[in-house]
């Protein structure tokens, strides 16, 4: 289904959905930082800045309770979290590099173990993608097979037009349901010219070639060369739309507490620290190697997909300037 919506009507749509009690998540400023957060009204939405963290947290929050316990006398009471109580959510103005990561995450969260927390949120969320007009020199979506107008992962996709407003394309039943719920706000598809989209200046990687090099080079001097400088924080993994490792911790007292699922990162030394004290990834290059291997080899081996959408967030925020696009390019040249 193809339609048109004016910018004003898009705001009206968002406000109407909020008034109906729907949870709307979109880019907004939070204490001075652009993040995907619930909106109070449409005026809070900003679309000209890439949110600092990705949209994955709509399905995979950085911290979530999965169970609680309470002890009284000899009795221990366990209470599960009921995922059916997760709210229906509409994610607005999602960048193509964020939306494209969502089907990539579906693969791992519905693999041998069905992660009901992720999957229930996924079922209840409608993703409204927005074509991207603001790339910088950290962006490399075009190098990993995507583009600023890629509709992968979007239920509805907005393409901005000259003179304001958007052409809207629906790809799923959820997308059509959203249009049909407020059909008076949409008009027939417009013939107006599309706004010039972002144009990341990176050549496409030969991902098959990159993977075949990785297949053979678990041990290679490249890893020391690029990652001795890595300081071992989790910033790259935490801003990544596709990284999905988590840790489960019990926090509380002996009387009561909660079991929580938190984001984790392979850059941390304790990520692979065994209870015995042994750590198979004892030095930082071995940890950084895992980041590249997981994104461009292991995930491909298992699910036939690349675990990177070229959003460039890790490139921008790495404290020591580690540039994953430059590294994959170097491997691509080998």
């Amino acid at each position: 289904m193809r339609k048109y919506i004016s910018r004003q009507n898009l705001n009206t749509l968002i406000d109407k959905l909020i008034a109906e009690g729907r949870r709307i998540v979109a880019p907004r400023m939070t204490a001075g930082t652009p993040l995907y957060e619930p909106l109070g009204h449409s005026g809070e939405m900003i679309i000209d800045q890439l949110p600092r963290r990705s949209a994955k947290e709509a399905f995979f929050p950085l911290c979530e309770e999965i169970m609680s316990y309470e002890k009284s006398g000899q009795q221990v009471k366990l209470t599960d979290v009921d995922p059916s109580r997760f709210p229906e959510t509409i994610l607005f103005a999602v960048r193509p590099c964020d939306a494209a990561a969502i089907p990539v995450l579906d693969a791992v969260f519905s693999w041998d173990y069905k992660d009901e927390f992720f999957l229930e949120r996924r079922r209840k969320t409608t993703v409204v993608g927005l074509a991207c007009t603001t790339a910088d020199d950290a962006c490399f979506c075009t190098a990993v097979g995507l583009s600023p107008s890629d509709t992968k992962g979007s239920d509805l996709f907005l393409s901005p037009l000259e003179g304001g407003g958007y052409n809207v394309e629906s790809f799923t039943e959820k997308g059509e349901a959203l249009i049909n719920s407020c059909s008076d706000l949409f008009a027939e598809e417009s013939n107006a010219a599309y706004i010039q989209l972002a144009n990341p200046q990176t050549e496409a990687f030969d991902l098959k070639k990159v993977k075949s090099w990785l297949d053979e080079h678990f041990e290679d001097q490249l890893w020391d060369g690029i990652a001795t400088r890595c300081v071992g924080c989790g910033a790259c993994a935490f801003v990544c739309p596709a990284c999905h490792c988590f840790d489960i911790v019990d926090e509380g007292t002996e009387k009561a507490g909660k079991r929580r699922k938190n984001w984790d990162a392979c850059g941390f030394w304790k990520f692979t620290h065994h209870a015995s004290g042994h750590n198979p990834r004892d030095l930082q290059p071995k940890r950084y190697r895992n980041r590249i291997m997981h994104k461009f080899k292991y995930y491909d081996d298992k699910f036939g997909q690349t675990l990177c959408t070229g959003c460039g967030r890790c490139v921008r925020i790495c404290p020591v300037g580690i540039d994953i696009a430059a590294i994959v390019e170097e491997i691509n040249q080998k």
Binding site: A31, R53, T228, V231, V249, I317, V320, G321, D323, A325
Partner: protein, 308 residues
């Protein structure tokens, strides 16, 4: 205030001096490696490198994007860096203060190091692209309060004439005064909102030269000392632990604030603690090696008014 360009013309000469000196000390076997800066892929970007050969030493440079405090690579927390011989390191004045602090805390020995000091007019703020020109609006806030443009006590300092430094608004001093004027409830609301953004990536800890604990208190789980979850209680606890542990030690390199992916103004906490230390003990970290910081020693001149 209008933005004014800051003269960085000496940085090209400094780059040449750093390369020549690094090549010399590597070739003569004086050091086994030089920790310095090299250009990255993105225009203007700079990243730390550990140069062990002439090829990589030939890439050493310095520019307004040379933001990192490289002293972090010398601590025992960084096991990847060879420690089997003397190490050369490129340092700005602010970085050198941290290194001096590490020597004072018996973490480093001066004789194991070859210090290449950089006469510095300032580096870029974390909020701007690395290819940006240095100006009063794009400079890192710490540089506006810098008293260490010219490092002292180094083995080598490029022979360049440092241009006169421009005076500008002191952003930290102004912001600390603003926060001090708030009521405790307002101040709490401010920090609560800032800490709510924390994602516990620990970038602040990992880049800090003084966070050299081999196992951070916050990584312990037998027993757990601080909630690891990125929720208000755990986030606040972490940032208070961090600020307190750095009091009297932090030399103001502001790396914690620069690297925070969530823009939490962490250096405000450090500067506030430094202000308290200055008022209570007339102490400031500098270029002089002190075996005992003010919070690790007692003299009868210490303020005792808190004893009622």
């Amino acid at each position: 205030m209008n933005s004014q360009l800051i003269d960085t013309s000496i940085y090209a000469d400094i780059s040449r001096f750093i390369r020549d000196e690094s090549l010399r000390i590597l070739l003569e076997g004086e050091v086994i490696a030089v920790v310095g800066y090299a250009a990255g892929r993105r225009k203007g970007s700079v990243q730390p490198i550990i140069a062990c050969d002439t090829e990589s030493a030939g890439r050493l440079m310095f520019s307004q994007a040379s933001v990192n405090n490289l002293a972090v690579y010398l601590t025992k927390a960084k096991k990847e860096i060879p420690k089997s011989g003397k190490i050369g390191i490129v340092l700005k004045g602010c970085d050198l203060k941290a290194l001096v602090g590490l020597i004072g805390e018996s973490q480093l020995k001066r004789e194991d190091l070859y210090l290449i000091g950089v006469p510095c007019s300032g580096v870029l703020a974390s909020t701007v692209h690395p290819a940006t020109e240095l100006a009063t609006e794009t400079i890192a806030p710490k540089c506006l309060e810098c008293d260490a443009h010219l490092p002292t006590g180094c083995d080598f300092v490029p022979d360049v004439a440092l241009p006169p430094q421009q005076k500008s608004d002191l952003k930290y001093a102004v912001e600390i005064a603003r926060l001090e004027a708030l009521t405790p409830a307002e101040r709490w609301a401010y920090w609560k909102e800032q800490f709510s953004k924390c994602i516990k990536c620990y970038a602040c800890r990992q880049v800090c030269p003084f966070c050299f604990c081999e196992q951070c208190l916050c990584d312990r789980n037998k027993p757990q000392m601080v909630e690891t979850t990125p929720r208000p209680a755990g986030n606040t606890a972490w940032h208070i632990v961090r600020a307190m542990h750095l009091a009297g030690r932090c030399a103001g390199c502001a790396e914690c604030e620069r690297v925070c992916p969530m823009d939490i103004p962490l250096n405000l906490l450090n500067r506030k603690m430094a202000k308290e230390l200055k008022e209570l003990f007339d102490y400031e970290p500098g270029f002089e090696v002190n075996d005992k910081g003010p919070l690790a020693s007692f003299t009868d001149k210490d303020d005792q008014s808190f004893i009622k």
